[in-house]
Symmetry: C2
Subunit: 293 residues, 2 copies
Amino acid sequence: MNLLVTGGTGFIGTHLVKALAVEHNIHVLLPPDLDVILPNNVHSIVFFDNISELNNYIIKNEIEGIVHLATLFIAQHQPENIKDLILSNVFLGTALLEAVEGSKVKWFLNTGTIWQNYRPNCRRYHPTNLYAATKQAFIDMAAYYVETTRLKFVTLKLSDTFGDGDTRRKLFTILKEASMTGETIQMSPGEQYLDILHIQDIISGFMHLIQLLNDNKKLDAEYVLAARQRYTLKEVVTLFEKVSDKKLTINWGGRPYRKREIMQPWKKGKLLPDWQASLSLEEGIALYLKKSK
Amino acid sequence: MNLLVTGGTGFIGTHLVKALAVEHNIHVLLPPDLDVILPNNVHSIVFFDNISELNNYIIKNEIEGIVHLATLFIAQHQPENIKDLILSNVFLGTALLEAVEGSKVKWFLNTGTIWQNYRPNCRRYHPTNLYAATKQAFIDMAAYYVETTRLKFVTLKLSDTFGDGDTRRKLFTILKEASMTGETIQMSPGEQYLDILHIQDIISGFMHLIQLLNDNKKLDAEYVLAARQRYTLKEVVTLFEKVSDKKLTINWGGRPYRKREIMQPWKKGKLLPDWQASLSLEEGIALYLKKSK
């Protein structure tokens, strides 16, 4: 199959493109001015906001499915970020959907976040931050194409992710660094629960959903990928210490919780059917430490 | 009170600013490059995408309420319209909400459309066109500010409007022209129902909702303004002929229905409480013909 992937050079995208390229012909959509080396067998198109050109590319290359991973993530925005957030997270996806017109594209796999659901026990949308709001806004733009075309559109909502190749300054990067330097880490009180998945499971979730889409299964509008078990941040750190066999120096409460910190991740999401995480968090951490040496 | 109005130079905006300026101090937000003469007592700020500057203006002028009428309306979009639709209908409103930070603004009156609800008997969102989707996407963005601030945010959904000062090429303009020239009008088969309100009633609806907001009433997230009675397009033309006392030459079926023509306007919207249209359609047409001579 010919598939188009956006965000194909990001953390999840790099892993997903590699996994998909084994069986499929992969095209990645790149933003202008991105200097990146792609695997040999991966094609690319640079998107300069020209929807007709993208439409031609999709038709000419007989694209059949689109995986939309590209995102501008900003946990706590500033006023000057808003236009970029909207252009990256609302306009780009809408442009892609428009560019599907007259092509062979049968499905569109969209990536969401459980941050669209700040209230753990409520099914409905409650954005944690403006980033999450842009994710929801795009889904409502997509609704127009769902109403007016035969395109299948599914959103896969992700929670926290980790693994090798993640260049973002996130929890495990910080823990790993501190375990080498011995430095004290300033942490929030640490009672918030995390739902955190290793990249290997994230990829298996995407691959599974792509299979369901290709098999033309009847699907819901959205699913979540969830870890086998949730742990508090404190428990995660204890697990990390156990697996790495190194004691960390943490000042719990040395920094406050983030504004609108998620203490309990969303509980009402529908899990992707017939899929579960293969790794426990302990196994995920072990794999991470091994692969990111 | 100090109120900020966007779209204050459009059809509804011109009438609303005039009505509001009797009691309030009105500021209008203008787009760049708009050459317009404002009433003497109306202040203005030009918005060049600088949210901090807008925030300073709102604080300095002690704005207490915002009426957001500005919209880019495109019934059937082309690919090249999408970015503008999103910037005008999603970004501008979000920028305004962001610019409220630290100000005295208590409420935000947003303007929606019943085109967000293509299915007449379904309560939920089903966009008629991409324009309606941008209206919904903005409401998703606004949800973040509703979640995180004390701002009251209400959407007033409008259906069709008419009246003097409407420069758009719409039904009554066409009928009036044809009644003078005797020209044959090509029309769709004409069986679609219209919910069409005279500008005087539109303005009374906005004024009533602004009163409710100022009185700090407990309000729903959205209301609709609806006509007393709905008529088919054919019936509307018959009424027009009766009121104007001129026979029109119409070729019914001379053009097809629009793609996704609304045959039955939304039936599930909640009406603005304690308000109703004061004019029958017949009276509205009479007033229109008198005022637009």
